[in-house]
Amino acid sequence: MADESYPEGLLYHPEHDWAKVDGETATFGVTWYAQDQLGEVVFFDPPDVGSQVSAGAAYAEVESVKAVSDVFAPMSGEVTEVNEALKDTPEKINDDPYGEGWMVRVRLSDPSEADSLMDVNAYKESLGS
């Protein structure tokens, strides 16, 4: 399991999801806090490539032995890629939630949605409360 960390340069959603924005596209995943709450991830059910995701809405589920959690999209767009490796090694979500544990890549429909997300300091503060 990874050590607790919340990288700079990512944007954060209150439901413990992160977004890495790169112009018109973004990569999404869940934060260290989310995977810690869940425990060892055993299954990730990704959306289909080509499907639409909406900011704030659940787009997938992640399962541990004893819990199921919704995964929320920080921003809206069309899914262009899903992390196929998670099918065989879902524990990457625990071990490397910001790197190999990435979940989907999305072509953003409204990049200005980034303004409603938190930066790392605001997110860390929200955890403290």
């Binding site: 059910d45 399962e63 032995v65």
Partner: protein
């Protein structure tokens, strides 16, 4: 204090002191007066064990059971021979009295037998994954409909009239909750599912198609063409199968069936006036996370020892709650244990031998009775005949100590003058000849 509780007066005093109240009555002070029972429960007082026994024995004596008569009754539950070792194992406290195996470290006996049961069902049905049991046949059929609905969200199911009437009705009852329309497809003039009618009924909004093998009349359905027609628009194909006939019949998995379900009573379980028995649920691999019920899975412990746990619990109600794949909690573990013991007892060769025996005796019976056949095509253990003087035949048979079979009139108006006759391995040639003699005597208008 009864024979099952042990609180003496002394115990009570000590316990009340420790709690800090003066009387047992005080423990119920949270219950408002308005809802307190003013009168005692209006039932007789408790009885001595021997009196309870005598009372139950007298009730039991007023039933005509399968040892009191030569029975040809079938219709989904059968008088098969249940070997003695099943009771001796099932009556062990360690199988009879524990709870669902939520603490796997002390439940390896139960979990391993579930794993073995799942394996046996998977082998029989030719499908890769099976769960650890359902309640019984008809509700398993309905559960398969629920899986199909979760899978494709369509609004219609198509079901052959060859499927057991109780299964069709249960499916309809459940389907009200899903807002799903249930469409029936008739049987043809040979007592098999009408292929053309099935093909016409299946459309783009069909969620699942239901068949039964053998069907309720005992017909061995021609599953190949039926399966093709059923799956044409992407609906799930569900087949309710009889597990015992799978010794000689091609299994549903080889016909591209998506889900196989059915009634397990014929596998080592008592008749018990209809229950408890068990249902089974087997499916293609891709449905494993949508399946209802408990599933035992293999793993290792911290010392690397092989062991078993309940797995994929995130499907289930205690975790996924309103999004669960079903609401099933308590199922039929003990009856499924009887099932796997029975299948082990029959064994790889035995189930084939048994199937062939029933096949041949059934063929003999069909000929011996010399009646008009409702389903002249292939049958294994059961068939339907049309008798113009059915009432007289039944009466004469009963007088001879024979239960001639199940009259189809209630469930099949189209077969109102027909009889469903089941031939298990317990029905000998002599039994069959006796029934044939009854039919013959009525036909000839003479007494036997």
């Amino acid at each position: 204090m009864s024979r099952y509780t042990s609180a003496t007066d002394a115990d009570r005093r000590e316990m009340l002191d420790a709690i800090g109240v003066g009387s047992v009555e005080e423990l119920f002070r949270d219950i408002p007066e308005a809802v307190r029972q003013r009168e005692p429960i209006a039932l007789p007082d408790g009885m001595a064990e021997q009196d309870v026994y005598d009372h139950l024995r007298r009730l039991a004596a007023r039933n005509r059971h399968a040892d009191d008569e030569v029975t040809f009754a079938g219709g989904g539950m059968y008088d098969h021979y249940v070997p003695a070792l099943i009771d001796s194992i099932l009556q062990r406290s360690e199988f009879l009295t524990p709870y669902t195996p939520y603490q796997p470290e002390i439940s390896q006996g139960g979990l391993q037998s579930m794993f073995e049961f799942q394996t046996a069902i998977a082998e029989l049905t030719g499908l890769p994954v099976a769960n650890a049991s359902m309640y019984e046949g008809p509700s398993s059929v309905a559960s398969a409909g629920y899986l199909a609905k979760l899978e494709n969200g369509r609004h219609r199911v198509v079901v052959s009239r060859g499927v057991h009437p109780n299964s069709r009705e249960t499916l309809s009852t459940y389907a009200v909750g899903w807002g799903t329309e249930v469409v029936e497809v008739p049987l043809d003039d040979r007592g098999a599912t009408d292929l053309r009618a099935l093909a016409d009924a299946v459309d783009d909004d069909t969620s699942a198609v239901f068949l039964q093998q053998p069907n309720f009349l005992g017909t061995v359905e021609d599953l190949g063409p039926l399966a093709e027609a059923a799956k044409r628009t992407g609906a799930l194909l569900v087949c309710s199968v009889d597990p015992l006939t799978l010794g000689i019949l091609k299994p549903p998995g080889e016909f591209g069936v998506d889900v196989a379900v059915g009634e397990g009573q014929s596998l080592g379980n008592r008749l018990d006036f209809g229950g408890p028995s068990f249902g089974f649920f087997a499916a293609q691999e891709r449905y494993i996370r949508r399946m209802p019920g408990r599933i035992a899975g293999e793993t290792v412990d911290v010392d690397g020892k092989r062991g078993f746990v309940l797995t994929l619990q995130t499907r289930e109600q205690h975790i996924r709650r309103e999004k669960a794949t079903s609401n099933i909690c308590t199922a039929q573990a003990l009856n499924a244990l009887a099932g796997v013991i029975y299948l082990s007892w029959l064994g790889k060769r035995g189930i084939v031998e048994l199937g062939e025996l029933m096949l041949r005796r059934t063929a003999y019976a069909r000929e011996a009775l010399g009646a008009e056949l409702v389903n002249p095509g292939p049958v294994v253990r059961e068939f339907a005949i049309r008798l113009p003087d059915l009432d007289a035949v039944c009466e004469r048979a009963r007088a001879e100590g024979i239960n001639p079979g199940h009259r189809l009139k209630y469930y099949y108006p189209e077969y109102a003058d027909c009889l469903l006759v089941a031939i298990t391995e317990r029905r000998t040639r002599r039994d069959i000849d006796r029934l044939a003699a009854v039919v013959q005597s009525v036909r000839e208008g003479v007494s036997v």
